[in-house]
Symmetry: C2
């Protein structure tokens, strides 16, 4: 697979910092370097850091580790964290990544922007599901306004429809899209997962049409039942087409802003050059904390802790499903999510979600997000997203009851 | 001053997330929100954090503050930190910023990239000093390869030369550059400060030619003598032309990746929209830590602490200057820096710095950075940068002695 010619022009000329050329001399015995421009660690603010985690572990950072956490670091990753993340990916996805296949990001969201920077000229297009995650649309819209929509159903992105769309573009001689954007698990806002058959079909399509795939998977481990994880697109990919984004926002803490991208070394190399020129690197302080946590807690125990946290979401999901069955009128389509934090309601065409919120939100005192926010084309006007992440089961029950009333009032 | 028409096309269509429209309903009593997609704080990793600072302060973060630090936050800034930073800017620069004039970044370096994203089409140009900071060149090169060089001398960017260059461009009917990039204090690599007269002249020029100014000032507080701070360009600016970048990398710790941009509300608004679409926001965890530190240490005591740290750099600078006077042959130009971490040596034209390092680095065991790394046009081939930040006074003395030997060997 040829990668280079896919990059947008702006991303083609990037080369590593010339100062890095000098690093080869650094290890020579007796060398005095007046080269490095880093500030002196003796001036850094921290003496020591103690963190107690809810899972019971605690971490004490001082001395050499604290200096590493406080100093500038490599643009790809803190070495210790990279090693932990490679092993984490092996553990959860059975995927072996080399050192040049992983880059730590300011949250996986940064990966959406970097893909956009690297690949999207203003006349390029991206394949997205309808509906899709608005944060991804915002990132892609930083460089293009062209989207190709593929319908989403209870099995995720409709790959049969995708084939038809691509065949038509090809027949018309139009340029093919740069990549397929997929949220394989706990789709935000759709609340659906891509079925096993469609995962394989999607990769076959990508191969047939020579497309890249951007796998955005923040809800992978927010499981709401006991089924095993489905294979990731990355794990099924034999051709290096999948760039995968992993997040710690839902399984550790979102405020840290840490996630990582992994995939084809040539693409990851461009991610690293982008980091170097745009923000140098992700906070080494945050990377050290995550590294210390992962190495002290261990994979199995981390997974157990995540599972325990998922009970909260599972209880809330159950409360929402029960309330939906009890309170919503007939004719509302929805899916029962097996991962994530969202349910998506499609109402009959006559309903306008934005107007409903404007007319009844204050009176009925319930907020859902009108579907238009999740459309790349001003569609989904008759849809609503409900989140069950931040509310109690009681609030969920009452909230959905009010939503039912809102639908009835709207006629 | 008209701002909107200056933006690159890609930055013109950005609008805030449509979901934010719903925030107005959130404060209504009894409202149940199924809108927010944030993860539940009960699942977050942290129980408590204790930090001891070298300056003596200590900080304990738990409960509500820890939840804030762990959760997603606003794209512009953690509210408490923004307030601290406004007050910090007032304290050190006598500049009053409104809430809509400041945005916290993943290090001030991110501001270089954002300015580039917002303003630089591929046919636009930027004014830079020759030499200049290569990290800025890398950020600007993300979108354009066109630079207009202005010579640097012991008083900083040569504003008389700048006027000539701009007059010539105007006379030829060529498009004016988008902004002037300036490092006013402790210039990296030049080791010079912009003189008071030139600061005013630069702003007059910006006004005459209707240009924006990007003031990148990470070394402002790394003072190597007892002179008072010079007024920042921002403090002298009456027309809202200056976008200022402040860094905590040299006065707190670089590994955290935190800095901020401040300036014209219309530009800062675009910075915030960029943050929203590219990485959501700077780590709230890091923002909370900096906020807790600033509020517990107080401005005066923070300044004293920085001054104490500067003694290290001052001692090292003195050692380097003494060694330069003792060991370098005649005919080498240099400036004695009053801020920062760098000295810049211009050797006679016959010397080629890259070749010198290749020929003599291993033998003489000293590394300096060849000047070409700091040129936007392949210039500065006869220059070298020496940093005095990471080495002892003894190493500096010996390193410069070896550099002198290298120059002599090179004939």
């Amino acid at each position: 697979m040829e990668i280079k010619e896919r990059f947008a022009e702006r991303a083609r000329d990037k080369s590593p910092s010339p100062i890095r050329e000098l690093l080869k001399y650094m290890t020579i015995e007796g060398m005095i370097s007046l080269g490095g421009g880093y500030p002196n660690p003796d001036t850094f603010a921290f003496e020591s850091i103690d963190i107690i985690f809810r899972s019971g572990q605690s971490v004490h950072i001082e001395g050499k580790n604290l200096t590493t956490a406080s100093q500038y670091g490599p643009s790809d990753a803190h070495a210790g964290l990279k090693s932990e993340l490679r092993s984490w990916q092996q553990h959860k996805d059975a995927v072996s990544l080399n050192d040049d296949q992983l880059v730590v990001l300011n949250g996986s969201h940064e990966g959406l922007f970097i893909m956009s920077y690297l690949f999207l000229n203003s006349d390029d297009s991206v394949i997205v599901s309808e509906p899709t995650y608005p944060g991804a649309l915002a990132a892609f819209k930083s460089f293009t306004q062209n989207f190709i929509q593929v319908p989403l159903d209870s099995d995720g992105m409709d790959t049969a429809a995708l084939v038809e769309i691509l065949a038509k573009i090809e027949m018309q001689g139009g340029p093919l899209p740069k990549f397929i954007y997929v949220i394989p698990n706990g789709h935000n806002p759709g609340g659906v997962a891509l079925s096993d058959g469609r995962r394989k079909h999607l990769l076959r399509i990508a191969s047939d049409y020579d497309l890249l795939v951007l796998e955005d998977d923040p809800y992978q481990l927010i499981k709401l039942d006991d089924s095993p994880l489905q294979p990731t697109l990355q794990s099924l990919d034999k051709e290096g087409r999948v760039i995968r984004l992993d997040s710690f926002s839902k399984i550790f803490a979102p405020g840290l802003r840490i996630g990582f991208a992994s995939g084809h070394p040539e693409i990851i190399r461009q991610f690293v050059l982008f980091k170097q020129s745009s923000n140098l690197h992700t906070s080494t302080f945050i990377q050290e904390i995550l590294m210390q946590y992962l190495s002290s807690v261990g994979h199995e125990s981390f997974r157990d802790h995540i599972k325990k946290n998922c009970l909260l979401y599972r209880t809330n999901r159950d409360a929402m499903v029960a309330a939906v069955k009890e309170h919503l009128p007939a004719g509302i389509s929805y899916n029962i999510p097996t991962e994530g934090m969202f349910m998506w309601f499609e109402m009959p065409e006559k309903h306008n979600a934005v107007r409903m919120m404007e007319n009844y939100c204050e009176e009925l005192k319930v907020i859902l997000v009108p579907g238009g926010a999740f459309s790349s084309s001003g569609g989904c006007g008759n849809c609503m997203r409900a989140s069950f992440s931040l509310v109690s089961p009681e609030q969920i029950g009452e909230g959905i009851r009010r939503f039912g009333e809102m639908i009835r009032k709207d006629g």
